[in-house]
């Protein structure tokens, strides 16, 4: 994972959860385009993307390996208005992330912190191992009485690990999520099978489908 910061002249600002399309054009005119969630809270003309390098990808290896400070690339955005959260919407808020699906949710956590919001927010974050946890230190720092971060490590765990060590399931969601009775706004982002399983479990726990917003990464070559 690499975080790249771009200075985008005349950037109109963005909302947490929105993304940009990055377009690369080769010398022969061949074009490749990919969507990346914006990781940063709105901050003037600065836009940060956290990019997972996919070995056989067309775009991500270029961005993470070739791009140098000062290079210019073509960005289109901000894009999207459905999978967004703004501090004015308040809480309670349940965020469920699978791997790099945490990126748009991190933008929500960051904008929430920047706005000084005390909306009750819980992040349930599934990673393969402790070393794979994206934004680990920053999440530790941001935790307080109103922001709870719960990790589950699905493949390997540190020797003294006392947290969850399995895929997200209904039992885990029942323990971590605010009750459906308080009608939390729910945002789920990750690979498609992860999102399907989490959304189905949440509906099974009685959460209103219309309050569960999902964003699927699929298995597209980035």
């Amino acid at each position: 994972m690499e975080t790249l910061a771009f200075d985008v002249p005349a950037w109109p600002g963005h909302r947490a959860g929105q993304h940009v399309d990055v377009r690369l054009t080769a010398e022969d005119g061949y074009r490749a385009e990919r969507s990346y969630s914006i990781a940063s809270a709105p901050d003037d003309t600065r836009v940060e993307l956290t990019i997972e390098r996919l070995e056989d990808g067309e775009v991500s290896p270029y961005l993470t390996d070739e791009l140098r400070p000062g290079d210019a690339i073509e960005l289109r955005g901000p894009i999207g208005g459905y999978f967004v959260w703004e501090p004015s919407q308040g809480g309670p808020l349940l965020l469920v992330a699978g791997g790099s699906g945490v990126v748009p949710l991190m933008a929500m956590i960051r904008v929430r912190a920047a706005a000084g919001s005390d909306a009750d927010t819980r992040l349930l974050f599934s990673s393969r191992s402790w070393d794979d946890v994206i934004y680990r230190d920053e999440l530790e720092r941001l935790q307080n009485g109103h922001l709870t971060v719960v990790h589950t490590l699905t493949r390997s765990q540190p020797p003294d690990w006392k947290g969850y060590a399995r895929r997200v399931d209904a039992e885990m969601l029942a323990e971590v999520a605010p009750s459906q009775a308080v009608q939390p706004a729910v945002y789920v982002c990750g690979p498609t099978p992860f999102v399907e399983a989490v959304a189905a479990a949440l509906v099974g726990l009685g959460h209103e489908p219309a309050r569960i917003k999902t964003e699927r990464f699929g298995a597209t070559g980035g």
Binding site: H19, D21, E33, S35, R76, G77, I79, G80, G81, Y82, F83, P191, T192, P193, E196, K213, T214, E215, R216, F217, G218, A219, T220
Partner: protein, 85 residues
């Protein structure tokens, strides 16, 4: 469940290019089951073109094919599309 399935968020850029406005919050009504919902929540499959399916009944809502500066839209599976201008 298809691991390659995406959702309307994934084609927000394409739709914005075609329609000129933010489209994931537009509300479409399925011509199959009559369910209305936001474009951001529809199921999306990408191949040579893009296929949008109803998340409730799997009916094909629309197909989009873009080649260079030309776009073909087939939307017979959509009864209505409510767009906020």
């Amino acid at each position: 469940m298809d691991a390659l399935m995406l959702d309307g968020n994934a084609i927000a850029g394409l739709l914005q290019e075609v329609f000129g406005v933010e489209m994931t919050t537009a509300v479409g009504t399925c011509n199959g089951c009559g369910t209305a919902g936001p474009v951001g929540a529809v199921h999306v499959y990408r191949g040579a073109g893009t296929v949008l399916r109803c998340p409730h009944c799997d009916n094909v809502l629309a197909k989009i094919v873009k080649v260079d500066a030309r776009v073909w839209l087939e939307m017979t599976g959509l009864r209505t599309l409510e767009i906020l201008l």
